[in-house]
């Protein structure tokens, strides 16, 4: 799926591009590649979807979005894909994943994130979502974040590649 050059490149850019006139040239120099190759590889990784996006990663808490809620639903397996796709269209939804249930302790299989400036905004958005997607019949829960003990971007290491 990705070769060792792509992996090295991802490891080199994951902590952020240097804020200099020619950031890709600086990365290229570190990796002993050419600037052109770095640019071509990044464009190809983005086109293939391995890089979902490359850009500014904002710190939402610092920008006034203090309320971060994980909203979870118990949706029948046969409907979860359709509903997941529908939910992810809403612009206040930041992530939307299917994850496993855990017997007796956790019935929910659909997880999404809502970031809002206040808890009230988030609750109102959830109410709108439930109405618009007709989710009233499904069990759900909302888990607001309290303390943040750690928050940083996903950090990959030099690991065996997946075929």
């Amino acid at each position: 799926m990705i070769d060792s050059v792509d992996l090295e490149l991802i490891l080199a850019v994951q902590n952020g591009l240097p804020l200099v006139s020619r950031p890709y040239a600086q990365i290229a120099q570190q990796l002993q590649l050419t600037e052109t190759l770095v640019i071509q590889r990044l464009l190809a990784l983005k086109k293939r979807g391995l890089i979902k996006r490359l850009g500014v990663i904002v710190n939402h808490r610092q920008l006034g979005y203090q309320s971060n809620a994980m909203v979870v639903f118990n949706i029948p397996d046969t409907e979860v894909t359709q509903i997941g796709r529908k939910i992810s269209q809403f612009d206040f939804i930041n992530l939307c994943y299917r994850r496993p249930r855990h017997e007796d302790v956790w019935p929910f299989n659909l997880f999404c994130m809502i970031h809002g400036k206040t808890q009230e905004t988030v609750l109102q958005q959830l109410k709108n979502l439930i109405q618009a997607c007709a989710l009233e019949a499904y069990e759900h829960d909302i888990l607001f974040s309290q303390r943040c003990f750690k928050q940083r971007g996903a950090r990959y290491k030099s690991t065996p590649l997946k075929s």
Binding site: L50, I57, P100, V105, K150
Partner: protein
């Protein structure tokens, strides 16, 4: 505190930051300012922690194996357990949430065995069980975060 240019930089370049030899010059051209001005503005936003970086978001599970993990920890031990967990370099986010499962974190391990080892090590060091919630299906396409910076 944020001027219009800062707002544009925060909102308009989450998805499509230029992948070209001089990206800041390209942005500068669009916004009608100098390259140096843009570089300084991004540096300021980064110093103030309003942006964490300009970088890639990688499709999960294409490099290594990741999982969301939840634990139930008594309130008085939560902070010390979170500290133990944060010491693992494979742990990225780690949040307290208002639920019986009160600690939620994300691990990126090299493979499934490595993930299992890390979780058993966390269980041993904290004395509490871990519950894995790996991603099974991703419904989300656009990961940018549309900011309302008007108030």
């Amino acid at each position: 505190m944020l001027n219009n240019l800062h707002k544009q930089l925060l909102n308009d370049y989450q998805q499509d930051f230029p992948i070209s030899p001089q990206p800041f010059l390209e942005i500068a051209g669009k916004l009608g300012v100098s390259e140096d001005f843009i570089i300084k503005a991004f540096s300021l936003l980064q110093e103030q922690s309003l942006i964490s970086r300009i970088g890639p978001i990688i499709q999960p599970n294409h490099i290594g194996t990741s999982s969301l993990v939840a634990m139930t920890i008594p309130a008085e031990q939560l902070e010390s357990c979170a500290e133990i967990i944060n010491q693992f370099s494979e742990v990225n986010h780690n949040y307290e949430r208002d639920h019986a499962f009160n600690l939620w974190f994300v691990i990126i391990a090299s493979d499934q065995n490595n993930l299992t080892d890390i979780l058993s090590s966390i269980e041993k060091k904290t004395g509490f069980a871990t519950f894995k919630f790996p991603l099974l299906e991703d419904y989300f396409i656009n990961l940018g975060f549309q900011l309302d910076l008007n108030d």
